[in-house]
């Protein structure tokens, strides 16, 4: 019924949404972007972030030497594709990949040259990272160790967020991470006390790891200017990481000063691994190499939960009971945000969704849709046989609990009372109605309530009127 329909439309929307990084890039100056486009690896990663139609347009134009009249390219577009095509052209022109798309279509020269170079190879700028020579002293790092490291780092951050204010004292992430969390508004400290998670932070916890990662990195980019770091250097390093190979060691030598400074930050986030802080080599983790893909950025089978994270671990019944096959403290803590937990076994947590637990979550700023989408994405394979996935009763009840909270709506304004006569009252009220600012009125008491915007007008009107009488 309605619940299921709403879900499907949500899915469509989330698929069509452009990548979170694109609006940020679009807001950058042409100069910055052109400098970024000088690196083949950056062009390749950017290309991957584009929506599919945009990608096809870029590819169509990539191997052409001369500009194509816009009408010629437009002739290939079908009628139903027309709208998306126009959006794609606008999108590309904002990124300065396609200057002046209205008359002639031709790619930005720098972008074209770099992307061509990325596709066919060649050049000498080493933008895909220099592999470090074989290390005789140490064995090369294994992928399992890298994965474990990335998970440990990432979960430390999330666990710190989720358990702040609960009295527990989990391991603290590094000051750099704490600062980033504070700046991004995910956590805040009230009156100099310890950091507390904010409502944005609660919402953050329910996102997929991929979204979480980009949200933090985006904040990192926003902070770049304050820290007097070169945005182009940061972006190109992130893009370079995303094209690197998991399990290989790369040399620090070819990096710029800014990029060397970034190593420390990225190590804290779990994107790269280094044997020692002063090491001359580094390895990207899965978090880094999947930046531009849709693959899960965190390895499956994080704990003994038998690969639970990827496949989902939650079983939800129509009687609001919830079974979570996990022993991961982070997942338990996240569930605790909106579930009343009852029992805990070595690999199983049992709880139920109650009005109180959901209202607690809603008070923290989490929305009903976020709860439902979290349950959907982490549903156990057994649950996936159900249609709809989440029992309709539970889904609708969660939404109803949310609506419950919205019974009261506050609006600022002014109460106008003590009118001298009924005629006065009606005269002013009529004027206020014309302005469409009346929120409430009571003729018996000769008073009405007007919104904030209308106040100066009404006041002026009353003053003119009384002034005229005097």
């Amino acid at each position: 019924m309605s619940g299921a329909n709403r879900d499907s439309t949500n899915d469509v929307n989330s698929e069509d949404l452009p990548h979170t990084l694109l609006p940020f890039l679009q807001s950058q100056s042409q100069n910055t972007l052109t400098r970024l486009y000088q690196r083949p690896s950056a062009c390749l990663s950017m290309f991957r972030l584009l929506p599919p139609l945009d990608r096809q347009l870029v590819m169509n134009l990539l191997w052409l030497e001369s500009a194509v009249p816009a009408a010629t390219m437009g002739a290939w577009v079908t009628r139903e594709g027309r709208k998306l095509y126009d959006v794609a052209l606008l999108n590309l022109s904002r990124l300065h990949i396609l200057p002046n798309p209205s008359i002639k279509l031709s790619l930005n020269g720098t972008f074209k040259a770099s992307l061509r170079q990325a596709i066919i190879g060649g050049g000498t700028d080493g933008s895909f990272g220099t592999v470090a020579p074989k290390d005789d002293k140490h064995l090369p790092i294994s992928i399992e160790v890298l994965d474990a490291y990335a998970v440990e780092r990432w979960e430390t951050i999330l666990h710190y967020m989720v358990s702040s204010g609960t009295g527990q004292l989990p391991t603290k992430p590094s000051p750099g991470v704490l600062f980033l969390l504070q700046r991004s508004g995910l956590m805040s400290s009230v009156h100099g006390s310890a950091l507390q998670i904010t409502s944005a932070g609660f919402q953050f916890l329910l996102h997929s790891p991929h979204d979480q990662l980009w949200q933090l990195l985006l904040q990192y980019l926003h902070m770049a200017e304050e820290r007097e770091m070169d945005l182009v250097e940061i972006l190109s390093f992130l893009f370079m990481l995303s094209t690197m190979e998991l399990g290989k060691e790369y040399s620090v030598e070819s990096l710029s000063v800014t990029q060397k400074a970034m190593l420390e930050d990225l190590r804290d986030y779990g994107l790269i691994w280094q044997r020692r802080a002063s090491s001359r080599r580094f390895s990207p983790t899965r978090l880094a190499t999947t930046l531009t893909s849709l693959l899960p950025p965190l390895p499956t089978a994080t704990s003994s939960g038998a690969g639970s994270q990827d496949q989902g671990f939650i079983v939800l019944e129509t009687n609001y009971r919830l079974y979570a096959y996990t022993d991961n403290p982070l997942q338990t803590a996240v569930l605790n945000l909106f579930v009343t937990l009852k029992y805990r076994f070595p690999n199983l947590v049992v709880g139920s969704i109650t009005r109180d637990s959901v209202r607690k979550a809603l008070a923290n700023g989490i929305t009903a849709d976020q709860i439902i989408s979290y349950l959907t994405t982490h549903a156990h394979p057994q649950m996936r046989k159900n249609k709809p996935l989440i029992p309709v009763t539970v889904q609708d009840q969660i939404r109803l609990w949310e609506l419950e909270r919205n019974r009261l709506k506050s609006q600022e304004g002014y109460l106008y009372t003590a009118f001298a006569s009924q005629a006065d009252y009606e005269y002013v009220l009529k004027y206020a109605r014309q302005l469409n600012v009346v929120l409430w009125e009571n003729p018996a008491k000769r008073c009405f309530f007007g919104s904030l915007e209308g106040h100066s007008n009404i006041r002026g009107f009353i003053e003119r009127r009384t002034g005229g009488q005097v």
């Binding site: 139903e80 060649g122 893909s293």
Partner: protein, 323 residues
């Protein structure tokens, strides 16, 4: 719409045809070397479009067909070349495809007569490969419930240079029908030589695009514009398809492509002349029909060995289902 896709590329690697193609008297001579470099750029673009995109490359050599590369089983040699100027997956694909082709070409002995091209074998292998990746057996994949939305939509691209091989009519038609069943699109790019009837039909029947390459120096541009877009994208940006398709079939008896044929009323086998007994299903036809059919045929069409016998009446304008 933005999901990963799979392309199986079938390369027609007939040495004699490539030699003919590179001769300078052609309007646009295309050497094998420049063909390969453009195809490699195309393969790279496919991998570049999306991290999850997968690829398989099959080579059709004279008399045999070989899998040159597949992303599920890339090169085993993890040489630490570490060229900092190229994206690693591209390097793997390119070097792997080139070395495998070299190896295979070395193996071809210099006989005067070139064996017929193994295009059908390559096509069948591509279909088998796609079948395997789209329907993972439950035993190997443990309990993972495959969401149909995350399975790649598979396509086959045939880059053909050899002319039609009329003996391969039945296997090609069978491949087309299994492709239809697997919902696989077959794209065809005719790089050299005359249009091939069978591949035209393959593209038409599976909803793929058929391109006859006239400007052969623009191979890459044609590949990118007409064969790279995924099926979802083709709804938004059109790709070229054939307007006129040659639907002629080949007879089962002499493997000739025929304009008018005779079809067995039981098993739908096609013959170029009326026959008394169907060679496929052993059905015997009444002698009267046979005489009537033979009488109605023009004397010029009468086969030399034409013993007056019967066959079922037919007008095969459409290819039938060989079984």
């Amino acid at each position: 719409m933005d999901k990963s896709s799979h392309i199986s590329v079938v390369l027609d690697l007939s040495p004699s045809q490539w030699h003919l193609s590179s001769l300078p008297h052609n309007p646009y001579p295309l050497s094998f070397k420049s063909f390969l470099s453009q195809v490699l750029a195309f393969l790279n673009l496919h991998i570049a479009s999306k991290h999850e995109n997968t690829l398989a490359v099959f080579g059709a050599f004279p008399g045999k067909s070989v899998m040159l590369y597949s992303s599920s089983n890339p090169a085993s040699d993890s040489s630490d070349s570490g060229n900092p100027n190229i994206y690693r997956p591209f390097e793997i694909v390119d070097s792997r495809v080139v070395t495998r082709i070299e190896e295979e070409l070395e193996l071809i002995d210099d006989k005067e007569e070139e064996a017929p091209i193994g295009l059908v074998g390559a096509l069948t292998k591509a279909l088998c490969y796609i079948n395997r990746i789209t329907h993972p057996t439950t035993s190997t994949q443990s309990t993972i419930v495959e969401d149909p939305a995350i399975l790649p939509d598979p396509r086959i691209l045939i880059l053909s240079v050899s002319p039609d091989l009329s003996t391969s009519y039945i296997p090609i038609m069978n491949s087309i029908f299994s492709a239809q069943k697997l919902k696989v699109i077959i794209d065809v790019c005719k790089v050299y030589g005359p249009n091939t009837v069978f591949l035209e039909q393959a593209a038409h029947l599976t909803g793929g695009s058929y391109v006859y390459l006239e400007r052969r120096d623009a191979l890459l541009q044609h590949l990118v514009m007409s064969h790279l877009p995924s099926p979802a994208l083709r709804k938004l940006m059109a790709v070229p398809t054939q307007e006129k398709i040659d639907f002629r079939a080949a007879c089962f008896c002499h493997k000739n492509i025929i304009d008018v044929g005779f079809v067995c009323s039981v098993c739908l086998s096609i013959f170029c002349a009326p026959v008394p007994v169907c060679s496929t299903c052993r059905t015997k036809f009444p002698i009267k029909t046979l005489q009537r059919l033979n009488a109605s045929r023009a004397p010029a069409l009468r086969p030399v060995n034409g013993a007056a016998k019967t066959s079922a009446p037919s007008t095969p304008s459409l290819p039938s289902t060989p079984r």
